[in-house]
Amino acid sequence: MPLLSVKNLTKSFGGLTAVSNANLTLNKGELVGLIGPNGAGKTTVFNLLTGVYVPSSGSIELSVGDNVRKINGLKPYNITRLGISRTFQNIRLFKDLTVLDNVRIAMHQNVKYGLISSFFRLPSYYREEQEVIKKAESLLEIFKLDTKKNELSRNLPYGEQRRLEIARALATNPSLLLLDEPAAGMNPNETAELTDLIDWIRKEFNLTILLIEHDMSLVMKICERLYVLDYGMIIAEGKPEEIKTNKRVIEAYLGEEVPHA
């Protein structure tokens, strides 16, 4: 049973069809890349999977435990509860909050104490808050951000902001993690480090990962399978080596040199 299966997914904005009839399957534990030229519709796919946009047509099914749930049309927070989490291409941290708070907010859905406990600081408040802090700190440690937990996230250097976004996404306890250009703006050293980190968290947290990336060194190194998107359509699917030599893919990328009509 695949973790995620997407059938005939379509999204149009007025006259523009950003994603058209895309089919996509992710198996448990896979690390799959989603690549394609600028404006191909990759981020739109993420927005559809996470409920930020509502699909024009098609279906998205996620297996949750032993059940298969249709998730298109659900609100983003419901989808997150079912186990999909993501980062954003243009970092969207809670900029004026601390690093720790960024992670703690993402853990909110697992907090059980109620409003009354929070108003009057009943024992359950203290108990759970301590737990939350402990978990958040151990997560930050993995991303080497524990020493900066009290800094405002807007003051972190760029690379650390990207890492914090991944940490925040993991704090929601996902089974499927969507990473939108995690290496964008990083230098080769940082990219190499990040590549290892992604590979490591996948095993450590038992994750399935779908990853958008323009940096081919990263993609070729860790992705087991690739989907190639062009003009909203999936034009190829396969192992990295196969994709490298696929004629349509090469055309799509070369075609990018010529301005789109």
């Binding site: 981020t43 927005n47 930020v52 946009y53 954003f88």
Partner: protein, 293 residues
């Protein structure tokens, strides 16, 4: 039926005034995405300038109208330069709070100098004529209000569609950065927009003065809000929308006063506002848009 037509005529004159104020709201919102809360108070200042020109300088209606428009245009530009320009990249809330501040400032500065009480316009600014057609009473003042409004709107349409400044205004409201790249002077264009919008509000102020005779420093708040309702109703940022909105709100208001209770006429306007915002925030003529992620 006669009463209905009578209310409609009354609604038309009131609606003209709302339309004139709403135009300024809509133009400013279209170009800088700011709800210029002080706009209603510029209308009030226009009424006071008209009052001073007529009672202290013995001017006629039309010279006073011109002076009021001119004064308000300058006032609008000064406010924009001093208070709004530094906030052009700030959040909309920051700009709105500032606009509320400017609004209060205008109200209480006028109150400080003119005192809180009501001032009355002289009775005979416009000839006290009226005619009765099939039982429907129309005063000369009403005709004047309507005529002045139509003339100003035609002038505005001409400026917006046929002149370079108008073209620049449309370009800036579509895409400020692109307009800048195309060599349009964005700052000047915004100033012109504030000048025109404020001049229209000033005209509305003096029209209200001659129509209702009494003015006071807080007179701008409610008409300002209703004009905003009108602008939203027609689709904020859209000039013809403001006209339609203004006349609609004016008509609804006189109908509510005529057939229901005049005590609730303001409540109805706000209810319309909330309904429109919730059901179709882009207004009658607007298109819906969604944030890109």
């Amino acid at each position: 039926m006669e009463q209905f037509v009578q209310q409609l005529i009354n609604g038309l004159s009131l609606g003209s005034i709302y339309a004139l104020i709403a135009l300024g709201y809509t133009m400013v919102y279209g170009i800088v995405k700011l709800i210029n809360f002080a706009h209603g108070d510029i209308f009030m200042v226009g009424a006071y300038v008209g009052f001073v020109s007529i009672t202290y300088f013995n001017m006629g209606f039309f010279p006073a109208l011109l002076i009021a428009m001119l004064f308000c245009a300058v006032l609008g530009v000064v406010i924009e330069k001093v208070a709004y320009k530094p906030l052009r990249n700030a959040s909309r809330i920051t700009a709105l709070i500032t606009a509320i501040g400017v609004s209060l400032l205008l109200e209480y500065v006028v109150m400080f100098f003119a005192k809180a009480g009501v001032r009355t316009y002289p009775e005979n600014v416009l000839p006290n004529l009226e005619m009765t057609i099939l039982g429907v009473r129309i005063t000369f003042t009403q005709v004047c209000i309507f005529a002045v409004t139509i003339a100003l709107v035609i002038l505005l349409q001409f400026i917006v569609h046929k002149t370079r400044v108008g073209k620049a205004m449309r370009a800036v409201s579509m895409d400020k950065d692109a307009a800048q790249l195309m060599g349009i002077n964005v700052n000047n264009t915004i100033s012109v927009t504030f000048a025109i919008g404020s001049a229209l509000a000033g005209a509305a102020g003096i029209l209200v003065g001659v129509y209702y005779n009494s003015i006071d420093p807080l007179m701008g708040i409610i008409p300002g809000l209703k004009a905003f309702v009108a602008a939203v109703f027609g689709g904020i940022g859209i000039i013809p929308g403001a006209m339609i909105g203004g006349f609609s709100i004016g008509a609804v208001e006189t109908m509510v006063s005529g057939y229901g209770s005049s005590l609730y006429k303001d409540a109805v306007a706000f209810a319309i506002l909330i309904l429109v915002l919730i059901v179709k925030p882009s207004g009658l003529l607007g298109k819906n848009t969604r944030e890109k992620v």
